[in-house]
Amino acid sequence: MLGPLALVMGSRAGLSLEQIDDLAMAIELVVRHRRDERGAEFWAERGALEVFISEVDQAWLEQHLGMLAVLVSETELDAGGVRLRVNV
């Protein structure tokens, strides 16, 4: 569900197809880790898209920051979740 949303929001932000796809993969990686319910919020602005995913295991996140860093421009652990940002 979040992949198609990233597609629409990424398109609005003017990201390239590859950037949108990499972000969608990063989101899938995070939400696939544990299939519990969790929240996700998107912020799109011209030239950037940010998504915050709540309630993510911080130890797991720290282990996977290297992989996430290949997929998105910025990764930040924040309030029990993770903030992923892609800049054009």
């Binding site: 992949g3 198609p4 597609l7 629409v8 990424g10 398109s11 003017g14 990201l15 390239s16 197809l17 590859e18 950037q19 949108i20 796809d21 990499d22 969608a24 993969m25 899938e28 990686l29 696939r32 880790h33 282990q63 996977h64 290297g66 992989m67 290949v70």
Partner: protein, 237 residues
């Protein structure tokens, strides 16, 4: 002597049916050789028919003024139609024909734009190239994201070129333990190229001789496999 393919394509774009027949005949060796890559998975006649659709799509938008030979211009269209044909026949759920048609146009446009600009295109650029509105492009991309990847069997093994060192680097980076060992060699290789060597999808596509969207599906499948293994390995309770 027959007319050059570039001139035939120009006539096809003007609606000349006789030229379309001549063009298909002239380009038959290209279509046949590309169809061989998928031999055994889909009837050859279906692949060649898909290839002809790709050729005619290419002819409709070909511009000889750019100096690109028609064969080089048409190859991504032909490949896109053949991949779509293989995928549609293998897919458990068939997408509506209109979406499948748009998906092929989108795949061909992505390949063309990527090759022309040396970077991945935006959705707006794809829409302009494919002559579709952005909603139709997004629908086609959603369908493409949900599709199963075509196997890597058609790619020559030596194009992967992974080494033990890069494999170990990826395992360390991904904190995978020995999980990479459980993937087949080619899925592993795609992960190594993306996360070990940090090549972009476009660079991987160039290296393996496949489309960027194909690389995306392969990466997605390999990552899902790893994530699923992680779940299996996680202590229960």
């Amino acid at each position: 002597m027959s007319e050059p393919a570039e001139l035939l394509a120009r006539r096809v774009a003007r609606g000349d049916d006789a030229a379309a027949e001549e063009l298909v005949e002239a380009m038959r060796p290209l279509v046949s050789s590309m169809a061989k890559r998928f031999q055994g998975r889909v009837p050859r006649s279906d692949l060649e028919q898909a290839g002809v659709v790709g050729l005619l799509r290419a002819a409709a938008t070909f511009d000889a003024e750019h100096g690109t030979p028609f064969g080089g211009y048409a190859a991504p269209f032909v490949m896109g139609e053949m991949l779509a044909c293989v995928r549609q026949q293998a897919a458990p759920v068939r997408v509506p024909r209109s979406v499948a048609d748009n998906e092929r146009a989108v795949v061909a446009s992505v390949d063309l734009l990527t090759s022309a600009h040396g970077r991945s295109p935006t959705v707006a650029e794809i829409a302009e190239q494919a002559k579709l509105d952005e909603e139709a492009v997004l629908d086609a991309l959603r369908a493409s994201m949900a599709a199963r990847p075509v196997s890597l069997d058609e790619i020559e093994p030596d194009r992967f070129g992974e080494t033990d060192e890069t494999l170990e680097a990826v395992e360390r980076r991904l904190e995978l333990g020995t999980r990479l060992d459980r993937l087949d060699r080619r899925s592993r290789a795609v992960l190594v190229l993306r996360f070990g060597m940090e090549l972009s999808q476009r660079e991987i596509a160039e290296r393996l001789g496949i489309s960027q969207m194909h690389v995306s599906r392969l990466l997605r499948a390999a990552m899902a496999e790893i994530a699923d293994q992680g779940e299996d390995d996680a202590p229960s309770g």
